[in-house]
Symmetry: C2
Subunit: 206 residues, 2 copies
DNA sequence: GCACAATAATGAACGGTGTTCAATAGCCAT
DNA sequence: ATGGCTATTGAACACCGTTCATTATTGTGC
């Protein structure tokens, strides 16, 4: 038996999350199991259930860490110049690069099917923080904050879709163009269309 | 014991796929199991393994059926008018509508993580057929078939990304715009940008 | 009509999974 | 030193995918 009180609950939590990340990195999300995590941190399954509600909870917390890591990754690669298009390119490329560099972790964000969409608010906030980076880059293009948010959602969902295609299908179906070319096509056309549209309509359309 | 030869292999295959679809519709992909399928068709697990390689194989064949159904769904809702933008809108809305109407089946297409990307060619062909509809709608916008294919891939990956956001996050993060508004924003800006870009560069850019 | 060979179908067995909770073992205060 | 408190355990339960020796049923040849 592990010595009583050798680790605090919080220490065990961190150890478990570390172990889970290692397992996911090596075997992917399907390879993650309570028994593997428990034995990796030299505790038993029972102990895990004192710290996590269940495997879903553990999964969500691993994903939360991934969102934090992704946020920092994107922030470190931001283009702080004045050209919004350049800034968006930089973000999109950084996003695709993260998905490539940390494919299992990144995949797990979406493979873990959220039943009944019960993502807690703190988790949605972490997601929102990532979207916030996109909004910040887009802000110069629109005076309206709500409109900026909408544009950011649409654009980022699209970049994500391309990223999925790259990672999951290895671009078999993408006519051999790479993800960078695809995001460039998407972003440049979308932003050009956006600017053109604004020329002929008020900046805050109803 | 089921009477020997009561059903042909092919009949058992179809019964199993029907049963699997019902289970997925009711409980989602995670609820699918060999034992449930077997008991639904009043055979035992062993028999399933005479007809399918394993559960992955069965899953892939369910997905193949979904791709066929999706193809027919989209084809039935095509806009055969002359306006490519209208045609793309119609396809995008039909795609989102299918995802809404058949959420578990649709989700399963992506929840089933293809390890090592071992999708067989016949499966990729079915996927390609769906993309083909998008290409056909886009064809009037570009003389170059390869370019059309690339545009279709980018645009459809993007529509898919928006669709994912709608289904998985219930648009919590999309600033309450609905998926139709998002796809309209995406498609209209993207296509406007595309047309504008072509004004200033040769129709077949190098 | 009967025995037999061929084979369709079975289901127990194996090693895995998430989850629970009575039992236990280690620490602290007395 | 002892007893109580509780952190930790791990066996138990109900599931899972997969295999394959066994069984049951059939059509065939006599």
């Amino acid at each position: 038996m592990a010595r009583r009180g050798e680790h605090s609950r919080e220490e065990i939590r961190q150890m478990a999350l570390d172990a889970a990340e290692t397992i996911v990195a090596r075997e992917g999300y399907p390879g993650l199991s309570t028994r593997k995590v428990a034995s990796a941190i030299r505790y038993t399954v029972g102990t895990l259930y004192l710290v996590f509600e269940n495997l879903d909870d553990l999964t969500l917390q691993v994903n939360a860490r991934t969102l934090d890591a992704l946020y920092e990754w994107l922030r470190a690669r931001q283009d702080k110049g004045n050209d919004p298009e350049q800034a968006i390119f930089a973000l999109a490329n950084a996003y695709v690069a993260y998905a490539e560099a940390e494919t299992p972790r990144w995949s797990m964000l979406f493979e873990y099917a959220v039943q009944e969409n019960a993502q807690p608010e703190w988790y949605l906030n972490k997601l929102g923080r990532v979207f916030g980076l996109v909004e910040a880059a887009l802000a110069p293009l629109s005076a309206d904050a709500l409109e900026t948010q909408r544009i950011a959602r649409v654009l980022w969902a699209s970049v994500h879709g391309i990223c999925l295609l790259k990672i999951r299908q290895r671009l078999t179906l993408a006519g051999n163009q790479d993800a960078e070319a695809m995001t460039r096509m998407l972003v440049s056309h979308f932003l050009r269309g956006l600017r053109q549209g604004q020329k002929f309509s008020p900046p805050n359309p109803v």
